[in-house]
Symmetry: C2
Subunit: 228 residues, 2 copies
DNA sequence: GCGCTAATACTCTAGTTCGAGTGCTCGAAT
DNA sequence: ATTCGAGCACTCGAACTAGAGTATTAGCGC
């Protein structure tokens, strides 16, 4: 675990809810959902109950009462403690002020990209761009609805952030796909050649045994020791 | 589990390595590290061995031989299977072509942002901007080194992507902080007032009981049913 | 008054992830 | 000759996560 005894961001959302008033876990989940927080913070029951238990164990929230109506399951109402408020403020401040390495799936994909032939990658990135366009349109539509309701911008910040990141991704992906298609991205020729040779039945090892011979000068770097 | 029987992106990296030649897990880890993939794909031993075992169980890789030198721990060499190659190509194609919801920590922070007073949030975002600037400089420095070595752009794609996202985040964060400081972000006045009242000792519930009275017209929306 | 769906409020467990810890070897410096 | 640290090659257990499953009740149409 990291520095924080409870590290799941869902715990932060729980503390946030309980700062307003005492609630039981299920109520927390519906509150979060009704405010659309589930789009920014992963919420599922298993994690929610685990996180609540863990917060209680660490004294950040405490059990206020357990009630039951009829033969429904029990409801345990929790409230935030002093320590919980401090933790909430401190954690939130850290989230806002300190960038962390988030491993995104596209970054993983890009780093292994040479495993597929360049033209296929360009095509796939084109598909992604199309899908990103659709997502962006959905966000714009949601914002239009919000504007009609005169919902203040403060409540749309997460979505605006998403929009901004999605746009940046769209631009990157589009220009990368172009760069690959036009061979203007350095190294694309060797990459293309590599896959042509593999399609002809040569193994990766055979090609690498004489990289410069097979792939041309561009591949010289592959035969020298790896960078950094 | 998601659609994929092995879902950790590290498994994709393992398949990628084994497509080049058979290796043992530790060698996979050093290969990945020497190529800087660990910056794009989370790599740690526990996960690596778990993932290798799982890939084997699902027939995507197979045990080739187990050797031991002296009294060192055994080394089990794995190779990729036909099914493994198919899975690799299919998975990589999916990663590149299909955007997924990644829950980033900043998005979580932004969605709970009103839990801290506006001016503090603006300050914290300023701090983040400064840290982002430092990261960006580090990437630029690394790119300069790579350019000196004539390393083709294809191998820098992940980093270029990071740079692009970091820049977008920087711009967003900077303009958000400005918007808060200047009250030009809609809703900031009510948000500020809310924290002033809390500082004076009123509870969240008391304030919400007469939101419009306390916070002004801007808070009218808070009293009507939540959007979507 | 009877079945149906939706909502309520969790529970369960298989699977995954983390990273510190272990025990070995090798080469360089004392 | 011997200590020392770096690198090798994993192992282990505790914590965490996912999301399907369970059991109840309220409301609604017929």
């Amino acid at each position: 675990m990291s520095r924080r005894r409870v590290s799941n961001p869902l715990a932060l959302a729980v503390l946030s809810c309980l700062s307003e008033r005492p609630m039981h876990p299920y109520e927390i989940s519906t509150t979060l959902r009704s405010r659309g927080k589930e789009h920014s913070i992963k919420l599922n029951y298993g994690s929610l109950y685990a996180v609540v238990e863990s917060l209680e164990k660490h004294g950040l929230i405490s059990r206020r009462e357990t009630t039951r109506e009829g033969r429904r399951p029990e409801r345990t109402v929790y409230e935030v403690t002093e320590a919980g408020i401090t933790e909430f403020e401190d954690w939130l401040a850290e989230l806002l002020s300190t960038p962390v390495r988030d491993f995104t799936s596209l970054e993983a994909g890009l780093s292994l990209m040479p495993g597929l032939p360049p033209d296929e990658v360009a095509r796939l990135l084109g598909d992604r761009a199309e899908r990103l366009r659709i997502e962006l349109r959905a966000i714009d539509a949601a914002h239009a609805v919000a504007a009609d309701m005169a919902l203040p911008d403060v409540f749309l910040v997460e979505t605006s952030y998403r929009r901004c990141m999605l746009t940046a991704e769209f631009d990157f992906v589009t220009s990368l796909a172009d760069g690959i298609r036009s061979d203007s991205l350095n190294g694309t020729k060797a990459w293309r050649r590599l896959h042509e040779l593999r399609a002809e039945g040569l193994s990766f090892e055979e090609i690498m045994a004489d990289a410069v011979g097979y792939l041309g000068e561009e591949a010289r770097i592959l035969t020298s020791p790896p960078e950094q």
